[in-house]
């Protein structure tokens, strides 16, 4: 039994361990100073934590990795674009952008939840395609409707042809306003205190949410939909709520992410965000059906250390800067692939184990 536990533990932490190894090899080779690394990781922690935390709720409800968190990201971007046009700066601008993004995210989350309820058992591939589909609609809105239908005044964010939004929208007026709200520097490392407070607050909300009636229902649905239904839980509604919450959090997370970056890449900011967030969460030791807040933070540290050092290390080793770039993209995809394979094989093993157990019990009963 004990041995079993150790091998179980090894399997669960194999991905984080592998990453510790990669980072341990690449970090010295890259020649980056420890203080630079620490600074970068703290910045990226503030930038990404909120987004990654938004993935936890659908996992709790048994809906797997929410590839459609990009929907929330798009809603956040729309909010920011509008606020930019209205020239509301600083923290009030951010808050207004959040207020605008929430109903859009909620609506998109509702749509996503409804569609996913029609595709039970293949939520992940469906949510993945939804993100592409909505990306098409997003482009339709931002590229063609902003201008003639949704009024946009300022030419600095409009395309020269008179409608549609430029490829990059500068957020100079909001850049790192939240991060620098409470300035603090320890040993040369700049710490975005206010951002961390917001993230900490979301962690508290998630911990509290798990204990509420709705949170309990969600976990029951995640465990077994049929049992939950028999216990009188409205499975469909619970699943939709989990998607709505996740999308809304993702929208707010995207606004925090972009205020740190300082500009919006209108047509590409959101497209990769889902993949990198999911990869980071999985690197932290989460699986498709189990993830905790600890996984989020461990994942950010490991994944982003790899992300920073890999291109430099690649350049040093092979003399070609592109190798490292491609390497980190490959690793992101490979991590997700491995996690998905492990999840499916485990599911099958559990199923056959349960089958064997049932057969044994029946044999015993027959005797």
């Amino acid at each position: 039994m004990n041995k079993n536990n150790i091998s179980d533990l090894m399997r669960r932490f194999s991905v984080p361990l592998m990453f510790v190894l990669i980072c341990a090899v690449c970090a010295p080779v890259s020649g980056l100073s420890p203080s630079y690394l620490a600074n970068e990781i703290v910045t990226r922690m503030g930038r990404n934590a909120f987004l990654i935390l938004s993935l936890l709720i659908p996992i709790m409800a048994g809906m797997g990795l929410n590839f459609s968190m990009t929907l929330g990201a798009m809603a956040g971007e729309i909010g920011l674009i509008l606020v930019c046009d209205w020239q509301i700066v600083g923290i009030p601008g951010m808050i207004l952008a959040m207020i605008i993004s929430v109903p859009i995210s909620a609506l998109l989350g509702l749509f996503c939840g409804k569609v996913l309820n029609m595709a039970k058992g293949r939520e992940m591939i469906t949510s993945y395609i939804i993100s592409f589909f909505i990306n098409g609609i997003y482009q339709l809105v931002v590229l063609y409707m902003m201008g003639p239908i949704i009024p946009i005044k300022h030419t600095s964010i409009k395309l020269p042809r008179g409608y549609g939004i430029r490829n990059t929208v500068s957020l100079l007026s909001m850049r790192q306003k939240l991060d620098n709200l409470i300035p603090l520097t320890i040993a040369g490392i700049k710490i975005p205190v206010a951002t961390f407070i917001v993230v900490f607050f979301l962690c508290l909300v998630i911990v509290w949410f798990r204990k509420t009636k709705l949170g309990q229902d969600m976990r029951a649905v995640g465990q077994d939909m049929e049992v939950a239904r028999d216990a009188g839980i409205d499975v469909e509604r619970t699943r939709i709520i989990s998607m709505v919450l996740s999308t809304v959090f993702a929208g707010i997370g995207m606004i925090i992410y972009l205020q740190n970056m300082g500009n919006i890449a209108t047509y590409s900011s959101h497209s990769q965000i889902g993949m990198f967030c999911i990869a980071a969460l999985l690197v932290g030791g989460a699986s498709v059906d189990k993830a905790s807040i600890g996984n989020v933070f461990l994942g950010i540290i490991l994944f982003h250390t790899m992300f920073i050092v890999a291109p430099k290390a690649g350049t040093v080793i092979t003399g070609d800067s592109m190798i490292g770039e491609y390497f980190r993209v490959f690793v992101s995809y490979a991590v997700i692939t491995v996690a998905l394979i492990m999840y499916e094989t485990n599911k099958r093993r559990d199923k056959s184990k349960a089958g064997k157990q049932l057969a044994l019990e029946q044999e015993a009963a027959n005797e």
């Binding site: 395609i129 592409f132 491609y326 993209v329 099958r348």
Partner: protein, 356 residues
């Protein structure tokens, strides 16, 4: 049979046709017909448009055909198509590296791609047998991982042909490689028919027809029937003495090989080899094309392939010209994204038996 029941059955057949054909497909077909009608009025040359559609059909047909075996064996839609495409790219680049030119390079590329497709396909099929039920998501990510792995490989593999590597460094393949002097239009030029503005790449279409016929014939052999049985009910197939895993493996290898050949045919039409991130999203157009043609997640026929490719490519080629001529506004890219992904979404949300 009396006349009345015949009439009833005709009416029922029309209703049944609409039901099986599906509303989204009707809309798409209607849209394409509308585009074809509008085209001459807004100043687009119809014969050019039609030969565009036929050309693009000949480029993409085989990539769409590659979906069929895996759908039949119950592995779902092959989102892992990029894996097969990579085998094709390896064959193509090696054929050029070894100094083959002209039409011979196409033949050699297909020959060299085959062992890669068989090996990759076998590993991929073995993997998909381990994770029955979650094929589509994992297939997607197997495709992504292999494309990003190959991005590194294109830089590192020892290619030297001056037509393919970066001029300055002398190593590492370029992102696009021209096929001029190699196999550009290798198939299309065979028996090509030109009437005014209308040109038909007979060779490429014949090549597709041969493969499609071979696929049709295969599905009627013993192994082919077994494949359909595995797809419609694995438990029943197993109790009938069919080795389910082996059949599924065969279907995956077939699909991967067809993808490899498919990308070569695509390149001979297009005239360029595209490397690095280019194969990344190539699965999605093929998937949505077969779905537009009337296939579902677990049922697909050769007719679906032909109809779907014509409809999908028709919309892709017609929308930009018609839209541009009509309102000077090119929304084709957005329309393409919404239509193709909307179609996949529609298919995924249909209740289907057998895939659980």
């Amino acid at each position: 049979m009396s006349e009345k029941t015949q009439e009833n059955s005709l009416k029922g057949r029309i209703q049944g046709f609409v039901k099986t054909f599906g509303l989204p497909r009707l809309i798409i077909t209607g849209f394409l017909i509308l585009l074809l009608i509008v085209a001459p009025f807004v100043g687009a040359d119809l014969p050019t448009q039609i030969s565009n559609i036929i050309n693009r059909f000949s480029w993409n047909g085989i990539l769409v055909l590659a979906m069929v075996p895996m759908v039949h064996s119950g592995c779902g839609l092959n989102f892992g198509l990029p894996l097969g495409i990579i085998s094709g790219l390896l064959g193509a680049t090696m054929s050029i590296e070894f100094g083959f030119t002209g039409s011979m390079s196409f033949f050699m590329a297909a020959l060299l791609a085959t062992p890669f497709a068989l090996v990759f396909g076998s590993v991929y099929g073995w993997l998909l047998n381990k994770i029955k039920g979650g094929e589509m998501m994992i297939a997607t990510y197997v495709g992504f991982s292999s494309v990003s792995l190959m991005c590194m490989m294109w830089l590192l593999l020892p290619y030297h042909s001056p037509n393919m590597v970066w001029g300055m460094a002398g190593k590492g393949l370029r992102t696009t490689i021209s096929l001029e002097g190699y196999y550009t239009q290798a198939l299309a030029n065979i028996l090509q028919i030109n009437i005014g503005n209308l040109s038909i790449p007979t060779g490429a279409i014949l090549f597709f027809a041969i493969l499609a016929f071979a696929m049709w014939a295969f599905l009627h052999t013993k192994t082919g029937t077994a494949m359909t049985a595995v797809g419609s009910n694995p438990d029943f197939a197993r109790s009938a003495g069919i080795n389910v895993d082996r059949i599924r493996l065969i279907s995956v290898v077939m699909s991967t090989w067809l993808a490899a050949i498919g990308i070569l045919v695509y390149e001979q039409g297009f005239g360029f080899i595209q490397l690095y991130m280019a194969p990344f999203y190539m699965a999605l157009p093929a998937v949505s094309a077969i779905l537009i043609g009337g296939a579902t997640v677990n049922k697909a026929t050769i007719t679906n392939v032909i109809v779907g490719t014509i409809l999908f490519q028709g919309i892709v080629t017609m929308t930009p010209t018609v839209m541009n001529n009509m309102i000077h506004l090119d929304m084709s890219e957005v329309i393409r994204i919404i239509v193709s992904n909307g179609m996949i979404l529609y298919a995924l949300t249909r209740k289907t038996e057998g895939t659980k």
